[in-house]
Every structure is written in structure tokens, then in C-alpha cells.
Symmetry: C2
């Protein structure tokens, strides 16, 4: 049971002042930071604890070049110059892990098939991708999520011979305030919500 609320400062950090950055300061992202991000994001909820997301973190220039080569031109330039990037993937064989992540019910492995398996992988790896964004911001980094890339070529480049497919990608690092424009409008409550 939660008995407290986030401070105003922390709400700003993860939601209100956070922005999607196009460029970053010349300051590296470390393996320790990436492990800290995963340690947070992994705690976010997924349906029956399926955790289908798989993350390939690109820190080397070579790996960023590979990712840039499957991205749209505008995104490729951002990826090459970012200190770090990530491919958020989804393991379509996630049911194989159910004995490990849902150990109290040996049937769970057989709950998923066909369109429902694909929907579960996509929805839940997207949730986990959002947890990645929030977790990175929570430890003081900034993120630039992108879907402008060739998923099939990304799959060949990063996931050949596996059951993993790409979902979306992102750059991350310490955002350069000069790389962003004014914030785009958000839908008002009445346009997006109803209380019944």
C-alpha cells in the first residue's frame, strides 16, 4: 500500500519537465547506469508477469552505426551522435520462460498462442519500454524514443537466429537543451477521458 506521493520536483523530473531529446551533451552513459535502469524497469507490472521485453543497449560506436543503418535518415543522425541507444525488442517465445516467472502455475506456459500471444508480447513489451523511459529519467538521464526505423532490418541486424522481434528504439544520455523545440500540445482531459 502506497502511503506517500512523489515530490513536485520528482513529478517534474519523470513527467512534467521531461522532454524527448534530439541531441545530448558530450557525457558518457555507463554500464552501471544501464544496470540501474533495468533494475527499476523490471519491477514494472506485466500481464501474468510475462516480461517479454528484451533490450539491446548500444554503447559502442560500431553498434550505434548498426542501429543508424536501419533507421530513417533523421533518426540515424541522432543515433550516431548519442552517447547511447537501445533497441526494445520482444521475445515471441516468452511462454518458454513462464516456469521461471510464474512458477506457481505449470499451466501458464500453455496460455499463449496465435494472435493472443502476439498481442501479449507487443502490449507488454511496450509497457516495459515505457518503464524504460521513466526509469532512465528517474536516474537523471534523458531519452529520445523513436519508431522511425525498419523493423525487419533491425530484426536481421540485432536478432537474427532468435525469437526476438524489434518493437521500438530510443537514444539516451544527458539531454542537450539546445536540441529541443517548444513542447507540443497535449489533448485536454475532455478530449481523452470520460468519468462514468
Amino acid at each position: 500500500m502506497a502511503t506517500e506521493i512523489l515530490s513536485d520536483n520528482d513529478l517534474d523530473l519523470i513527467f512534467r519537465s521531461a522532454r524527448s531529446y534530439n541531441g545530448y551533451l558530450d557525457r558518457p552513459v555507463t554500464r552501471v547506469q544501464i544496470e540501474a535502469i533495468y533494475d527499476l524497469l523490471k519491477m514494472g507490472p506485466t500481464s501474468a508477469n510475462v516480461q517479454p521485453a528484451r533490450f539491446v543497449f548500444c554503447l559502442s560506436q560500431d553498434s550505434k552505426e548498426k542501429l543508424a543503418s536501419v533507421a530513417s535518415e533523421a533518426n540515424a543522425a541522432k543515433i550516431r551522435k548519442a552517447p547511447a541507444a537501445v533497441v526494445v525488442g520482444m521475445d515471441m517465445d516468452f511462454p518458454e520462460r513462464m516456469p521461471e516467472v510464474f512458477p506457481h502455475n505449470p499451466d501458464a506456459k500453455h496460455w499463449f498462442s496465435g494472435a493472443m500471444l502476439e498481442t501479449t508480447a507487443f502490449r507488454n513489451s511496450s509497457l516495459q519500454g515505457a518503464y524504460f523511459i521513466v526509469a532512465a529519467r528517474a536516474i537523471g538521464l534523458d531519452v529520445g524514443p523513436m519508431s522511425g526505423f525498419d523493423n525487419a532490418r533491425a530484426d536481421e541486424t540485432f536478432f537474427a537466429g532468435t525469437s526476438i522481434k524489434s518493437n521500438f528504439i530510443a537514444t539516451f544520455g544527458y539531454g542537450d537543451p539546445e536540441s529541443i523545440f517548444g513542447r507540443l500540445p497535449r489533448l485536454g482531459f475532455d478530449a481523452a477521458c470520460k468519468i462514468i
Copy 2:
């Protein structure tokens, strides 16, 4: 540019101590809280600012009964007893809103069609669903996300005559610690991540 990190307490609140609740204390959720949650979650990033998610918040017993009637038996019981529930939907006509949410490029409305439109709606409404979960936790509430319901019947019940489809649902309120079991295992870093 983010220059700070979340406090340990706040990391606990949104990730590390947070849990998916099956039951809630007898304490209401208010419209003001729901508006506060939306004001936070709407700031989360979506591809080209598309914001496809639409939220139907069920506060009345009648609306919770309606949602329970399209849910699996186990989930129906939880929904009936929860102070609040939400249907996270996605507007398949989201491109119509592009002139409002991406005003600097009049072409944006024509970027989306076919499978790519569906993928964009599903991925981004899922991201926004995750922002809902984090935002609710951030203001001290607890959430019980669920995908065990009949999407087609939910669409008929809540979105008939509109371009909105259901994605997932959740209960929320002040979690009852007696309603949860031990935390399920999370995949280790090496099972889910690679750094290249």
C-alpha cells in the same frame, strides 16, 4: 536537461515497492485524483505526439458492473469491489487529431494508414497505459492492470459508434496489503539485456 535523480523513497513508490493489487481499502478515488493522474500521464512521450489513448474511468457501481460483465470471472470480482477502474482504449482515428497535436506539419495527418496505423495506435496507447500506472502510483494510488477480458464486448459496451477500441483495463485505489501474495521473480539482467 535533467540534473537530478529521484529519491530512494520515490523509486520505491513507483517501481520497487509498488505492486499490482487484487483488492483495495474502503477509501474512495476522487475526480480530482483522476484529473491529476491524466495531467501527469499526458506529458509522457508518444510517437509524433499522436496520443492515441482514450480513458474511460469507472467510478459508479453501475459502470463497474458493466466492466465486470465483460471481464473474466476472477477479474470481475476484483472490479466490482474496487473503488475505481479504467478502460484504456485507443482511438483508431487518431490521425484526425494531428493538426491539433502536431500543428507545425499539416502532412502529419497522412502519415498513418493500414497496419502501420494499427501498430502506432497499439504501441502508443500501451505506452500511455504504462504512464497511467506510474502516474497513479506517483500520486499515492495503487493499480491492478488486467488483460483478462473480452475486448470485442468491451468495445461494444464502452465504445459503440466510435473509432475507439479497448487495449487493457485496470482497477485502482488504495491497495489492501492483505490482497497480495509474494512478488513474482523478475528476469535477471543477462536474461533480458545485452550491452554491445
